[in-house]
């Protein structure tokens, strides 16, 4: 039975697109057949994060308007078996798509694929309504900041108002150093406020920017701590109960150096 997961946040710039790209690529690495859909009509960016921008021929709006067949618009990622992108239109506005269109699109995609991941645009208007319309469940992305958590709380309510089950949470841009100094809300603080199950924590790390520069999802790099974080998130999305590591203590320079040399164990899981 295929499943459609929407990645949403309310607030812009918290990492929905990065999360969507890495979750989709992570699922494909696990042998699943996955389509990741860019639902941000007019501001497409998922193609760039995945490094597939030069291969776009048709887009989501053209599929919906019947200008091309669904299969013609899907871009196959050559780096991993089973990963496909359905790009957004760049020159249309959100009014070009209605929730019923998305429901039909998702139904059609589920015929040949096990997972449909929808990268939801920021905001709570048309783009959000379209994105949740065809979804079976939602992942809410937030960062440990007041504004992002406030919007996440709002989005959780809206997701439930659309008759989806309780969403799950991804905490992005987590900075253990700041958390240990008491300058950033930790995981328990955030979970106390949002009160939904946690699927993962992604540390704030330069690998995210470097991989975006190159158009290479960081989940492909199993030596990156961010790549590892996305691999664990993928496992948990698949229902496997892998532990979420405790990023909360700052290891200090010496331990970091020993780890780098391979003489100390990696971070302990909780």
């Amino acid at each position: 039975m295929a499943e459609c997961i929407v990645v949403t946040s309310g607030k812009g710039g918290v990492g929905k697109t990065t999360t969507s790209a890495n979750l989709a690529a992570g699922l494909a690495l696990q042998g699943k057949s996955v389509v990741v859909v860019d639902a941000d009509i007019g501001l497409r960016n998922l193609d760039v994060v995945l490094g597939l921008e030069n291969r776009i021929v048709y887009d989501l709006v053209q599929v919906i308007e019947g200008e091309c067949r669904l299969k013609q618009a899907l871009i196959r990622d050559k780096r991993v078996e089973g990963l496909f992108l359905l790009p957004a239109a760049q020159t249309r506005d959100k009014a070009a798509v209605k929730p019923e269109d998305m429901q039909k699109l998702v139904r059609d995609l589920k015929v040949d694929h096990e997972y449909v991941i929808i990268d939801c645009p920021a905001g709570i208007e048309q783009g959000f309504k379209n994105s949740v319309a065809g979804a079976d469940r939602a992942l809410v992305v937030t960062t440990p900041e007041v504004s992002a958590i406030r919007d996440a709380d709002r989005i959780i309510g809206l997701v439930e108002a659309h008759d989806l089950p309780e969403p799950q949470l991804i905490i992005n841009r987590y900075r253990p150093g700041m958390v240990s100094r008491g300058d950033m809300m930790n995981r328990d603080d955030i979970l106390e406020i949002l009160a939904i199950p946690l699927v993962g924590i992604v540390p704030d790390h330069q690998d995210v920017i470097i991989s975006a520069n190159r158009g290479q999802p960081v989940v492909f790099d199993d030596r990156s701590i961010v790549g590892q974080a996305y691999r664990r998130i993928t496992e948990r999305v698949l229902g496997n109960d892998v532990p979420i590591p405790n990023f909360d203590e700052d290891p200090g320079l010496w331990t970091t150096f020993k780890r780098w040399m391979g003489f100390a164990p990696a971070r302990e899981a909780v």
Binding site: T91, A212, R214, G262
Partner: protein
């Protein structure tokens, strides 16, 4: 120890261009395509068709390399093409 060797190997491996340069290069191309609303695949198709037309009149020298790209200067986008020709095909009047 293996991990250490791997890291040393990485450190001395021939390096790719800096990721920020890759980013800038990709971005420049993206902005051009966004401005003219011409997806890269469409550009490729146009190139093929234009070359077909040129080939009806001239013998193209593919070894010399055919240049066909979009260029952006002062916000103005143009198509730059350079097609090396071996000889013009004589046509009956």
């Amino acid at each position: 120890m293996l991990a250490l060797l791997q890291k040393l190997q990485d450190a001395f491996a021939p390096s790719r261009p800096a990721s920020k340069d890759e980013a800038k290069q990709r971005l420049k191309l993206l902005l051009i395509h966004d401005q003219v609303d011409l997806p890269p695949m469409q550009l490729e198709r146009m190139k093929t068709e234009i070359l077909e037309v040129v080939a009806r009149y001239c013998e193209i020298d593919p070894d010399e390399g055919v240049e066909f790209r979009l260029n952006r200067e002062d916000g103005q986008v143009s198509i730059i093409s350079c097609v090396p020709v071996r000889r013009v095909i004589c046509r009956e009047a």
